[in-house]
């Protein structure tokens, strides 16, 4: 870039791509740096589930706003993004989980999200491969799935079309943020920009030490093509009782039908697992769990298994905004398993704040400053 870019975005994953696009739309010039291919990090490792979530009001606000932005974008997304409005089916195994279906349904309905409660027969007829005897489920028809690497590439291409002044270098390993608006590459080269936006996912703490982002490893399996084996993204509600919410290694049943007819099977969560290797026992637990929900899943042909690292924060909310005391380093990271869903709303909040505009949803719950207080309260989970 001949002149100094207004914004240097570190990371060409889905969040960095969305931030670059929103910056360009706001008329800012942008330089995107990444050490590898577009969407080659956690973006490539994830499922690409666009899902409205209800763990907290702030999580709901961000996921629902972002799903709305995805729906607005849908018409212009190219074929290879594979947007598929398959909906989410949350399945309840027993009465206790059915009570959660009712609670969840109320939560969504009160906030204007269309849902449908299914009884045992309803679940069985909408997903015949599920085991008999499940209590019921909750269908969220507006949820969708996309293929994330192509979505990230599209957002970057769109940024170029809209704002024009977007450049990127995908061989640029970033060594450090050296000073206000300045980064040093692993090659030694120094680049000066207006501000730096760190959208480096689980690697963000390497560039901004002290941020409470931890790697949370996951495994996924993709199968050969079995069109119709599953129709919705199906997620178990049993994770409430499992260890998915705690620090221990955990697995939960989650399956996604791809537009190609392939099935993507998850999920696992692990802290303190820095390596990228497939861990056979955890993988086995994950698949056994999946098999307990869909008994014929074991007979499908698995083509590939891989792992990735989610960028997890203590309160399960992403970090969006300036680093306290340093208004030239901004963060857009810590999305754990929801980065694909929340990328668009993240970018919207970031750029609205950057431009001094009022964000569409309150930005405070995601502000990096919230951990200033948390740090003084070591009991915080």
């Amino acid at each position: 870039m001949s002149q100094t870019p207004d914004v240097i975005v570190l990371g060409a994953g889905i969040v960095g791509a969305a931030c670059a696009r929103s910056c360009a739309q706001a008329g800012l010039s942008v330089l995107v740096l990444d050490r590898g291919p577009i969407g080659g990090g956690t973006t490539a490792a994830g499922m690409g589930h666009l899902v409205v979530m209800d763990d907290s009001e702030a999580q709901f606000a961000l996921t629902s706003r972002s799903c709305q932005l995805w729906q607005e974008l849908r018409a212009e997304l190219p074929e290879d993004v594979e947007y598929d409005n398959c909906g989410t089916l949350w399945v309840a195994a027993d009465d206790e989980e059915m009570a959660e279906v009712d609670r969840k349904a109320r939560f969504y309905q009160e906030r204007g999200v269309a849902v449908e409660i299914l009884d045992a027969a309803g679940v069985a007829s909408s997903e015949p491969e599920l085991r008999p005897g499940l209590a019921g489920g909750l269908r969220v028809p507006a949820d969708a799935v996309i293929y994330p690497p192509c979505a990230a590439a599209y957002l970057l291409a769109d940024a170029r079309r809209k704002g024009g002044r977007v450049e990127m270098d995908c061989n640029a390993g970033v060594a450090a943020i050296e000073g206000p608006g300045s980064v040093r590459l692993t090659s030694g080269r120094q680049i000066q920009g207006g501000i730096v936006v760190v959208a480096a996912g689980a690697l963000t703490p390497l560039l901004v030490p002290g941020l409470p982002i931890k790697k949370r490893k996951g495994h996924l399996v993709i199968t050969d093509r079995y069109p119709g084996f599953a129709h919705h993204q199906i997620v178990e509600l049993g994770y409430l009782k499992s260890a998915h919410a705690t620090q221990a290694d955990s697995v939960a049943f989650n399956i996604q039908p791809r537009k190609t007819g392939q099935m993507l099977i998850g999920s696992s969560r692990q802290y303190n697992a820095e390596g990228t290797e497939v861990e056979p026992h955890l993988l086995g637990r994950m698949l056994k769990r999946a098999e307990s929900y869909m008994p014929r899943i074991g007979q499908l042909s698995a083509l590939r298994v891989w792992t990735g690292h989610r960028a997890a924060t203590p309160d399960k909310l992403p970090i969006i905004g300036p680093v306290p005391g340093n208004d030239r380093t901004w963060i857009a990271s810590g999305h754990e398993g929801l980065g694909i869903t929340t990328s668009l709303a993240t970018a919207e909040i970031l750029v609205d704040r950057l431009m001094g505009r009022n964000p569409a949803i309150p930005a405070a719950p995601y502000d990096p400053a919230r951990f200033e207080h948390a740090a003084k309260e070591p009991t915080h989970a």
């Binding site: 995908c170 056979p280 899943i297 074991g298 499908l300 042909s301 590939r304």
Partner: protein, 422 residues
Amino acid sequence: MISPMPECDLLVVGAGPAGVAAATVAAERGRAVLLLDDTPWLGGQIWRGEQQKPTNAQAQTWLNRLARSGVRIIGEARMVGLEGPGRYVIETPDHHWTIQPKALVLATGARELFLPFPGWTLPGILGAGGLQTLVKTGWPIEGQRVVVAGSGPLLLAVAAGLKKAGANVVGLFEQASPASLARFGTQLIAHPDKIGQAFGLRRQLAGVPYKLGWWPVRAEGVNQVERLVLTSGRQTLTVDCDAVACGFGLVPSLELPTLLGCLLDGEAVAVDAGQQTSVQGIFAAGELTGIGGNDKALVEGQVASLTAIGEHAAVFPLHRSRNGWRNFARALGKTFKPRPELLKLAEPQTIVCRCEDVTYSQLSGYTSWRDAKLQTRCGMGPCQGRICGAATRQLFGWGMESVRPPVLAARVASLIPSDERI
């Protein structure tokens, strides 16, 4: 399922010449040996059918020795991954189980290299080795006009086999230049039996037009191949045909050794003098260490096995022969290396990845195999890049990427460790 053999002295994967030799010599010395192959037969690609219908004395000798040696053989069995250090997951059509051998010999062989040219995906165009295999298993080829084109000594054997099966071989086209083959010929002095083989094949091909320095540029046809257009760089030639047997040589099947962490040396598994890979206790033999044919495979299989079981004294006499075949393999690679023109045959709309229908133009512009895979799904289909991976390495100079388990498509159930099932 309970493992049919939870432990053994030696586990051999692949029952071609290298695997057969490795398994046999260890079992002959009293070791407990398990030999796996993903087909129901012994002999691999090169000795396919020898078990049922013997034609090759060398194959018979080894298959007889194997039968007498006490090796436990399991067909339709594939190693799909690791459950822990030294604990391998094996899948058969009905079961999966784990095994913990004292040593492992990998002899998974090679597959054909396909370089895309316009029309190469038309029905009727098959790999040279692939068509040979089909014909051996009864594919009706009698009276059909077949062109054999591509590169490597396999073409001669394939053409001879097709002719014997009643095909009308309308032409045999080798891309390597006459000069390059002449240089290779002089090096064959060290391997007189190879010269004999080559002359034997040429005799069987009497009457078949045989051209050196010619290669295919385009296949044409409506619903299936009707003609193949070839060039020598100066002239072109159109040959009407019903089928094309085409292959540009062989490439080692590196997925399993790569997944197990074995380092590579170029396009082959790196091994030491005892055929041990960079991973302690894992050996590699045959085409995996460099394409060189069955004689190299037989001697490497023996060296690997004897080293693995600690019979070092028995290994030394084999070194000289093994080193000779390694040199032969190097000369082979040099002689039949695809010429640069072959890398420019694909047109923008030519399909490169058949599983995911990815064209040449969709792939140009990416800087790495991974980048291209993520954005175009090239290599993400059922074959997991086994065909297009080698082609894109040649076409775009992309490096190999890390291999993701399972090595071969495996049942989801096979990925669940047995103790997780209790």
